[in-house]
């Protein structure tokens, strides 16, 4: 099944060039070549290098981060419905973004920082709530995550209600999208996302073991409690980084790991790399639809939900037979 990896890398390269060549402005593939040759005018160059390029890179990072976090969570909770947001991270990020917008200091970078800090904080609180004397039972953690998420959704709704004029800004942020992409954002999330993805990738063997049940993982010599903590930390970092730069993009974290599971099977040693690559290929493509389908831009979270939910139902129906 490793055979799938080179074609997926190629697919990523093709999508990268495709997305670089398409957009609402008339700048196309020929201009990309011109930019590479250094012959393009400054306007074309800035559309490609300062606007489209960081946007594509961020969407690739976010796509692979959400897919990887979703896959890790599904293995950890041994539950196909787990996604990157089970620990309440996304609701925490919304609260952070809403607060910054409400108090009127909402620059792109400030919103990103607030969302990042609040989501990590939420993950930490959920983790502490889920911790017991005998370790970290995943069900307690799951329930703590659900409780925290609904509490913070309430807080977000309250903030939206109080926001008045700024209401649209908050709602638009929550819907998720890449229109605020810039190189600063790329530099901010590059290390946490790539670092966490590499960590999960290197631990795919242990994810196989934990899939068998925690006692079975322990019985082959894995220090399960410590491993769970590290995987939760990596997933939280992936999710918080993604949410901070792009708002809440749903279904990617659930659908991509499942689709890959159907194709390559359950073994995480192939599942994780293909999920990473497929997530990276999928997200810029959906974002391309978001920025070119209509005159103005559609939030990408809407498109992933519109595409993702029916696909997910299809997977569920298929799994039943």
């Amino acid at each position: 099944m490793y055979k799938l990896i080179p074609p997926l890398i190629l697919l990523n390269a093709l999508i990268f060039i495709l997305c670089l060549s398409l957009g609402p402005s008339s700048v196309g593939f020929y201009d990309v070549i011109e930019v590479i040759n250094g012959k393009a005018d400054t306007n074309t160059e800035s559309i490609i290098l300062a606007y489209r390029m960081p946007r594509i890179i961020i969407s690739m990072l976010v796509g692979s981060a959400l897919a990887t976090a979703g896959c890790a969570m599904q293995a950890l909770f041994r539950n196909p419905l787990a996604d990157p947001y089970v620990l309440g991270v996304s609701s925490g990020a919304s609260v952070g973004a809403a607060i910054v917008i409400l108090i009127g200091i909402a620059t792109t970078l400030n919103t990103m920082l607030a969302a990042f800090v609040f989501s990590l904080l939420t993950a930490f609180i959920v983790y502490k709530l889920g911790e017991t004397k005998i370790g970290l039972p995943v069900y307690t953690l799951l329930l703590a995550g659900v409780a925290m998420a609904s509490f913070l959704s309430g807080v977000t709704s309250l903030l939206i209600y109080l926001a008045g004029k700024e209401m649209h800004q908050i709602v638009f942020w929550i819907m998720g999208g890449f229109w605020t992409a810039q190189w600063e954002k790329v530099w901010f999330v590059f290390v946490p996302i790539v670092g966490s993805i590499v960590y999960v990738l290197l631990n795919s063997w242990n994810l196989n073991a934990i899939l068998m049940g925690e006692e079975h993982a322990l019985s082959v010599g894995i220090d399960v409690e410590s491993f769970k903590k590290k995987i939760i930390a990596a997933s939280s970092l992936l999710t918080s980084s993604s949410v901070a730069v792009s708002g809440i993009i749903g279904f990617v974290g659930i659908v991509i790991p499942h689709a890959m599971r159907l194709i390559v099977g359950e073994n995480h040693r192939t599942l994780i790399p293909t999920t990473i690559l497929f997530g990276a290929a999928f997200m810029p493509l959906v974002d391309l639809i978001a920025r070119t389908a209509t005159e103005s831009e559609i939030p990408v979270g809407i498109i992933t939900a519109l595409l993702g939910a029916p696909f997910f139902i299809y997977l569920l129906r298929r799994a039943k037979v």
Partner: protein, 409 residues
Amino acid sequence: MILEVKNVKVRLGSSEILKDVTFKIDKHEMVALLGPNGSGKSTILKTIFGVLKPVGGIVYLDGENIEEFSFKQIARKIGYLPQENPETNLKVIDVVLLGRTPYLGEFKHPTKDDLEIALNALKSVGMEGFEDRKFSELSGGEKQKVMIARIFAQQSEVLLLDEPTAHLDISSQIEVMELVNKKVSDEVAAIVTMHDINLATSFCNRILMVKDGRIVYAGEPNDIITQSTIKEVFDADVDVKRFGSKIYVVPKAKVQNNKNKRIHIICGGGSGAELIYKLKEIGYQVSAGVLNVLDSDWHAMMETGGITIDEAPFSPISKESFEKNLELIEKSDLVILANLSVGVGNILNLKAALKAEGGKLLVVDKTPFDERNFAGIEAEKLYKSIIAKARVFKNEGEVLNAVEVLLKG
């Protein structure tokens, strides 16, 4: 001594699960832990593996305190199979390869050797050719054999198996026990928890009986599996039987309090044996007559020990026996006339039946009477009068039901 558990105490929350557990096990030994649910069997295994830390006492592995080892080191020495059955869509070979985890490097990349060890382990449990099948699609017995292959691939010196035969059919149970038994013969020690005492006595050379967090009996199966130890440990009433060099345990038949009721059976030639055994089993007193000595119904009566009126072999019923029979009929709570054949020798049995009170006379009329009448018209007349006054049933089963109803109500 490869493994020594010394004065181990384990506490979970406020309750003391293990109170004082001490035992040793050496290579080539297969030890069964027997005990009721909640007695601490699984806890003993978890403590040996280091999952639970004892509040007192020490577990020695190869002479060293187990707490000195990392999980990875323990997993190289001990193959532990938890009770919980995994559910996964992983391929069989991936499951077995997980047994190599403690030997893999930082990047967890299995080598050719690891793959070969895993394949050999699969082969040793007779699951060759299953490596690419999904684990979740196997039968219960096949899954358990794959799990056994997983711990074999771990190449450890001690096996801890927590109820490896639970939920398996009898052939898989035997297969699993044989696999472990075979492994024990090559330089390995095994501790197996189980509920099936017979399986334990057949395969294990030592048994530890656990009750309330203590080992209450330890020794060879034949020495410690007795009616009284099982009563004490499990609070169960059993009979312990010997069969060749083995022993096995069967439940003692629950005897209801029917002892004050007696049923008299008029039978012969095997027509009453089934009724005799079954009524006795339910707990009634049974009497029978008149039977010839050595008749199969007579044998049944001798075996179950009821009052029997008998005649010498092949002799007709004497006047004296007939009178005795009437007396028994008179004093019994119910009388059953079995599906017997009638000849000149035993026609008096029909006469006796006719003397019984109509209300307590039950007749098994299975074979048409003319097919079992060898005493002519007289017997036929008698039988007709009997049928006229008695309750008639088609077979023994119906009669037994009627007995229950009549005597309970």
